[in-house]
Amino acid sequence: MKDISLRAGGAAGDGIASVGEVFCRLFSRNGFYVFGHNGYQSVIRGGHVWFQARAGHDRVWSQGDGCDILYALDRATVEVHARALREGGVIVYDPEKFQVPSELVPAGTKAFPVPTLEFARKFSPQAILQNAAGMGACAALAGVPLATLDQVLTDQFRKKKDILEQNLGASKLGYEHAQREMGAIGRALPMKGGASKLLLSGNQAIALGAASAGLKFLAQYPMTPATSIMHWLADHAVDFDILVKQAEDELAAINMAIGASYAGVRAMTATSGGGFSLMVEALGLAGMTETPLVVVEAQRSGPSTGLPTKTEQGDLNMMLGASQGEFPRVILAPGSASAAFRATRRSFELAEEFQTPVLLATDLFLSEDLHSVDREELPLDYDPPSLFQVPEPTDGSNGYKRYLLTPSGVSPRAIPGQKGLNFVAGSDEHDESGHLISDVNAGIPMFIELRKKMMEKRMRKLQGIVQATAPPKLEGPAKAEVTLVGWGSTALAVRDAMRLLEERGIAVNYLNVEQPYPLHTEPIARMLKEAKRPVLVEQNFSGQLGRLIRAETGIDLPVKLLKYDGEPLYPWEIVGKVLEVSGRVAS
């Protein structure tokens, strides 16, 4: 498949992420699909950070393998990343800052000196302009018109008009220098044209999905990689009439969300595994009080504080088992930014319809990296359904049973403030009216029976959830040599790998489990039985989805590709595994 990748690297504080965003927009503004991957560390200044922008005429799902233009702000970047250059690739560097010894330049690639500091000084003594010059050079090498770069920079410096002219000047010098001395590289793609793609992070898609689903209350405590959900919603709180509350900790965040939901508004909290560990008890509270709740669990490398800026899918076991006792829960794990938008809205619908907590599982890779979508993939024309299910009794009498035993397990929900429907929602076991059966009634025969009924009532919702939700789909050809099986963000690299394999004439499909719980057992079992060579692909050590599938279907998936080094999956890793299991290369 035809794609081009620009990579920028340097120290934290060098502005690499904003260079990367500009790289992305150079292409998305020209109708390309883009993927932006931010490789960073848990420090604010120093350390090594890099950003890769990959673009293609067709959808690019991941950062891909390798790069074509490497913009190196320091020598370390050359040492770490030069080996990723593909045939015909170029290293852009400033010889005033450091030299690139020839042994670091891979065969078939070139080091291309650009006097970025010199260009920058023509406009201002500030070193920061060097990136403008560097970006100009990279844009020329990538075959992007200077006008696009001008436009992107103009938007970026919207609020800093005083330095815009200098930036445009420096970038033009860089651009013209590269055009004159080197010209566009061989892998440069013709400009595509057409409508600009939208470029957003998975977290922005989630935040947008939540707002469009009717979110009114977000309580959150900062934790990478969930934090940007709060940032984005806080920025839009006034426009969207949403209350964003930074809580004192995650215990407070989830309990606040439960309180708000109990009081009748759509509420959400978001965190990573560490914060979710603190939320566990309250998750059961939502289950027991039958309070709708959406919790975003953005996973990162564990255990414990782990690698805070690196990705992993290590929390499925925890999400499945979090909190004492048993209660119905839903776990959704979208496999793209637009799927994340849809899944967030669906989370609110399911939480509300079944009055129980829904976990939206994502991870650092999906949440923080930048994805291209078409505008139509983010439809905002949605009216959240009314929350009021119970009419107020005209006589004010209180015969209302909040926890009425019903065939579906779902009982009509009153909103506090409604007259004559007063009830107590309790974390203790209770009867249909909400009265305790945990104290003086516990163990009395009639209440033993009732406890059993209340348990069964709540757990019945799981059947309804399975029926109300779509079973997973097999992506790719119906008949395939290898069937990959995974969940969540794994879909991204898998889709790129499937295309690479298709180009080699190898048919592969993907069982994309976007709802790990409750699992659609029968269709999954059927698909797995029909699969010629199933391969489990997960970003954790033990194959947690595989274990769940075995528990639910009895089908073992012994062939696995498991990744837990903190880095995202690369398409070539999946391609390599497929070549190996299909007997094309020795294992």
């Binding site: 969207f240 407070a252 965040a253 708000a260 508004v265 107020e392 506090p416 403030g417 974390s427 003086v440």
Partner: protein, 297 residues
Amino acid sequence: MSLASAPPKTAGPALKVVYKSQTKPTWCPGCGDYGVVASVERAVASLQIPPHEVMVVSGIGCSSNLPHFLSSYGFHGLHGRAMPVAEGARLANHGMHVIVTGGDGDGWGIGLGHALHAMRRNLDLTYVVMDNEIYGLTTGQASPTSTLGQKTKSTPLGVIEEPVNPIALALAAGATYVARGFSGDPKHLSDLIAGGLKHRGFALVDVFSPCVTYNHLNTFDFFRQRVYKLENAGHDTGDLVKAFARAQEFGPKIPTGLFYRVDRPTYEDLEPALKAGPLLHQRAGIRGKDKVLDEFI
């Protein structure tokens, strides 16, 4: 749909309201908490607030069963987590009167952090703590307010930690109405609770509510012999420094009544999202706001 959104009704024709629940309290005979539930009932009744406009949120403990013994809306949550549930509920519908109830273990032990943060936010909540200086429901362990030297099941040789001082903590944390009542004086207590409900901002009413089963030190008699009323002692409730000084008294004389009251903007006043009224009544969703997508170009 008559969902509460009105400010506290303090005047108007007397409503015939019933706050008593059909559920009879399950506390031990003689437990201090009976006086507290009666005082809460009396306070809301005196302010003519209809039961469906009241939400009572509690944690876990003997005392935290209180919402079940009232006929208002209630939420009986987790040990130590009543406060954030109440904060979320109040922010979702600030037309409701939200009362938080619980024990000393619940509020001054496991939930202390939440309590202090709610106070500094000055949310318009009324927090009634049934302080029996013991863990009742778990059968008599030391609580954060147990007395130095007190023998309990978990401290058979006596408590060796200084007790927390809820009144001083609340003053330091920025609560804007800080009071102490005694379950043995329900008339006085209900006035303090009503005062808290009328007050715009965070109101604490810490209540000596003896556990007759597990705390044989801090009994009704113990308090009856020691408590006095600040309003009879010429205390200036607008003076924070004097309030701190009174909060240190815990010996032969123990003050009850209102220690401190101040007017300060509430969280609800300052939160922009609430300008358009309770969140519950606002439009949800962002239909028509497609312009937001332009920022992703």
